[in-house]
Subunit: 355 residues, 2 copies
Amino acid sequence: MADNVVSAFGNSVISDYSKLLKDFGVESSSKVIFPSPLTIMRRGIVFGHRDIKPVLDAMKLGKPFAVMSGIKPSNFFHLGSKMVVDEIVYFQKHGGLAYYAFADLESLVDNGLSFNESREFAHDNLLDLVALGLDLKKARVYLQSEEVAVQRLAYVYSRNVTNNMLKAIYGEHPIGMYMAALTQVGDILLPQVEHGLLPVVVPVGFDQDPHIRLTRDIAVKHGFIPPASIYHKFMCGLSGVNTKMSKRDPSSVIYLNEAPNVARKKIMKYAFSGGRATVEEHRKLGGDSAVDVSYQYLTYLMDDDKELACIRDDYTSGKLLSGELKKILADLVEDFLVKHQDKREKARSVVSKFF
Amino acid sequence: MADNVVSAFGNSVISDYSKLLKDFGVESSSKVIFPSPLTIMRRGIVFGHRDIKPVLDAMKLGKPFAVMSGIKPSNFFHLGSKMVVDEIVYFQKHGGLAYYAFADLESLVDNGLSFNESREFAHDNLLDLVALGLDLKKARVYLQSEEVAVQRLAYVYSRNVTNNMLKAIYGEHPIGMYMAALTQVGDILLPQVEHGLLPVVVPVGFDQDPHIRLTRDIAVKHGFIPPASIYHKFMCGLSGVNTKMSKRDPSSVIYLNEAPNVARKKIMKYAFSGGRATVEEHRKLGGDSAVDVSYQYLTYLMDDDKELACIRDDYTSGKLLSGELKKILADLVEDFLVKHQDKREKARSVVSKFF
């Protein structure tokens, strides 16, 4: 299943991040000091960046900067989707102007979703964004299809690309996908269009790097500051570290809006285990935390470093059994979902007013 | 100078309209009965159409129909631009919903005009539209860059074309031009998006037929009534029947906003004459009305058929000299411009409010 091809329009499983850093000229985050970092920043799950220094400088000096990201609203948010949201909220809390685009033009051209279907997903996604801490009153959140400011930028920026350039960056695609790509350039440059020159950070999965490269190129041509980006590793599917969460396989993914007890059962039943064939063998040899999905999920979701280290030691030494490890994750996820969904309910009135 | 290639993005000079009818499957207008026809309809200057019958039927029965057209706002209107406007006003007066798009997204991608520059031209063009009789209160007039309804339709319709299809229809162009073409499909189908199924007629120059074919194809796929079109012959440049009006050669073109006495001088000085080398020869052999630009212009601009027939007889028989023919046109154009520009001034307040 390992696949090193990065496609902005696809959903590749990436197994070798160090190779990506080298091949694409992305800098490693290992030496980047994020103030009061998120767990995923401390643990190197945020593994790379482009040009983050001007953003960190602005944060340090209290100068204006922005954070910009978005989603193709074609699905509910899952545990993996949480990362980008946490990153946006992080930068917003550190003083950044927050921009968030629901790329419903892309869910139309890519998935054939109507604007109404996309709007339903966007509405649900926004509940998660607010529940995870986004201050909607201070954020600029929009549906692409309703935002003329960004759509017409696609035409402006179309003058800076050739058809061959688009093919080289994205591969051969129908024109609508190229249009969606140019609209995304419009999204990413919108903070500077609306607020003048300022550093902008775009937290994204690495598969979005082609958009970042295209945008940085066009930004320079229009006298903007090339936007920075940070990249995180993808959360794997429940069925194994080299699988991905898939809409077509509900047992592979835990959605943020699904019943907490169902999520618990999924983890207990489907999470791929790094344990041994028998309890005796496990006690003797220990489990393999590198392929154990429950342990891997904990590296994303458990904030306490000491507790996590204990768990790993106990698991790899054989003291902790696979079922027990699963239960730790299941407890944590169930507890998180109960609290998160309570916050979602409280967000309903403000989100409904927004849409 | 004869050139039979039709390009929606170019400005070809067309000399053989019967060949166009045959090659492109456009029907001749010769058998079409327009009620209370415009001069250019009676005289076969409106030479062809696609599928006009449902529109004429709706007109006859007083049923809903629409007229839709537009312009790339990259220049002032000239005598030739008047035709499309007269056609729109004609259909509006006969009960049609009038739609008019200023394609500033196209003047951006094609000519590099900023939205502000396009807006200046659109403002001036709209003065002409109102002066020529458009009822702005009953019309839906917009700048593409400000109309999210039409921009997002470009993404919807992008799903109905392949890159090869676009290349086959338009030739190889930068992506922005294809985007502009899809936006134009959005413009043309907008009346049915907003008012439900109804016959729509699009008065255009024949060079716009590729857009019409693309739109009719997409219309069927979305369950719309394929829009009808009518085509008129181009008005030639002042310097000859096989030349075109050109912005780069101001002596070739008479703008609707230029000083009437300057227009008079242009005609007297530059209008290509079908007259003979000497007065004696002219009296003996007569002038050639087929190549005389003044006479050709009169076929567009002089409403009285009998008067026009007299002029042609007198000119071809040698009774009327070239200078005298020029003077007839110069008088008519000067008089028209004086009155037209008075109406433009009166239109200023309503147009300024619009922009």
